[in-house]
Symmetry: C2
Subunit: 329 residues, 2 copies
Amino acid sequence: MKLSRLGEFGLIERIRRRAPGGRGVRIGIGDDAAWVSHGSGSSLITADLLIEGVHFDLKRTSLFALGYKSLAVNLSDIAAMGGTPAYAILSLGIPGNLDSKRIDEFYRGFNALAKQYDVALIGGDTNVAESIIISVCVIGHPPLRPVCRSGAKVGDDIYVTGTLGDSALGFKLLHKKVTSTNRHSIAQLLERHHKPTPRLAAGAVLARRHLATAMIDVSDGLLQDLGHICGASNTGAVIWNEQLPLSPAYRELAGKEGTVYALSGGEDYELLFCARPRHRKRIEKLKAFAQVKITRIGSCVSADRRITVLDSGGKPLALPIKGHDHFKK
Amino acid sequence: MKLSRLGEFGLIERIRRRAPGGRGVRIGIGDDAAWVSHGSGSSLITADLLIEGVHFDLKRTSLFALGYKSLAVNLSDIAAMGGTPAYAILSLGIPGNLDSKRIDEFYRGFNALAKQYDVALIGGDTNVAESIIISVCVIGHPPLRPVCRSGAKVGDDIYVTGTLGDSALGFKLLHKKVTSTNRHSIAQLLERHHKPTPRLAAGAVLARRHLATAMIDVSDGLLQDLGHICGASNTGAVIWNEQLPLSPAYRELAGKEGTVYALSGGEDYELLFCARPRHRKRIEKLKAFAQVKITRIGSCVSADRRITVLDSGGKPLALPIKGHDHFKK
């Protein structure tokens, strides 16, 4: 079967089923990060591979932003388990005719974020390549109980941090004609696209206080990532379209497309999590520690009801196209 | 400065100088693997990036061998620190039109070696790409004191495991006309090229018994990797050309090129290490535990004498071209 038919998630499931297991693996393939033992200690581990022409275009991003983002997306995975990042491994494929100053710019972006979160760069590999390839692996310290995708129960509330859709809308507007009135708003959206903020404080406090029953970071679009939680937890979900947190810039620029980018745009790197309704007040109070706003956007329902988005009148929306799959066209 | 002028090792040094440090880093950039703390435990971490068209050509290798080798080269780095591998992260870039059976073949090779050494595959990332990209990260358990490149002293003996040059000579002969008499020998060399054996038992026993003062795996050629030990340890080295361990197949096929491939061919994935002369007998006895022969090939001298290879008459050889640099042409 061609990969374009099997799809990214079909492939991952195939790999997972055949993957050799071993002692010390507490969480293996299939969550935001793996959790493994080292003697009496343990660690969270995650990896991302970014490829020029697939994930980024140097005409539309600076190398500084690329360095920053390549670390940020991995820190976001550690955040989604409730962990604290500690070490990074960075492997690069680099065209041989690139000037070393351009590589310095990449490392400045990477190191700027690393320093902010006290992440040490401990190794990697450098190779010549036709185009830029970035492979990052981040190792973090877990909370007492890392938060998986599989812990949601029917009746749980569904929350998301920050605002949704900014990154995808910003990316879409990158090449649109910019009027003087909305230049500032577009810049705000693009900042979110190029320099996503990993929600480490929010993830850590949710895990430490055992408030999140399931958690994931929104990288492939809200609905797709919610689908991963529902699949792993065996629930369905109802999302209230009116409650989706949208930034002023998004509201200004989305126009007739409404919440499409918020629902399935991807690259938000916000945390999507579930919690018991009895913890609503505690989560309300958490906002100061989490350093980001937290919005209740829906509720877990039985699995047979799948995922529904309701409009303000309580009627199901026709769902927009699902999020990203690297292999399907 | 163009990367092709700065070179791979110039770039790595530049990255190392600017890399953000952090608590818990016991060994950072610049050895075969990093060594970091996790609470009261610790781990070794190494990574390698393999790119189609740079590191391999699908016309000359099977996907099974590619999967096998992409893990083997990382296990070799763990062996060079004296560690035991435990977990692997595998990220892949895959052309969308590739049949999933071909990917299965890759995973069969990877998993075969992983099972042999009890390494669990715990995660990774899969992406569509123009050509195949393989990024592997291996996490291992360290010995009490991992063996660095920097511990050699003037007067130390220099040893290497197994035989040298088989892989590089095999690769060179891949497209030569094969006569019926040497087909078997070529196959032996190619087996070493496609399926290198990580010297984990040897590395572990040398570290556990505190016999190796410095160690590295031979990936870029004996002389280049010896240069890394000498650079880190501030010594020079004398190597006796006659003592280089050569396989019968190598002796049969190297012809007038003599020890050129053994000295600088690369991709041997044997362990090169130094030890005190007073431990010669203990190292002699070690061979059973190490599951591979160990040959004394030289001696550490003062740094100003650099690296010399002596022929059987004690005269310095004109050294062959140095080993591999990804960026220099």
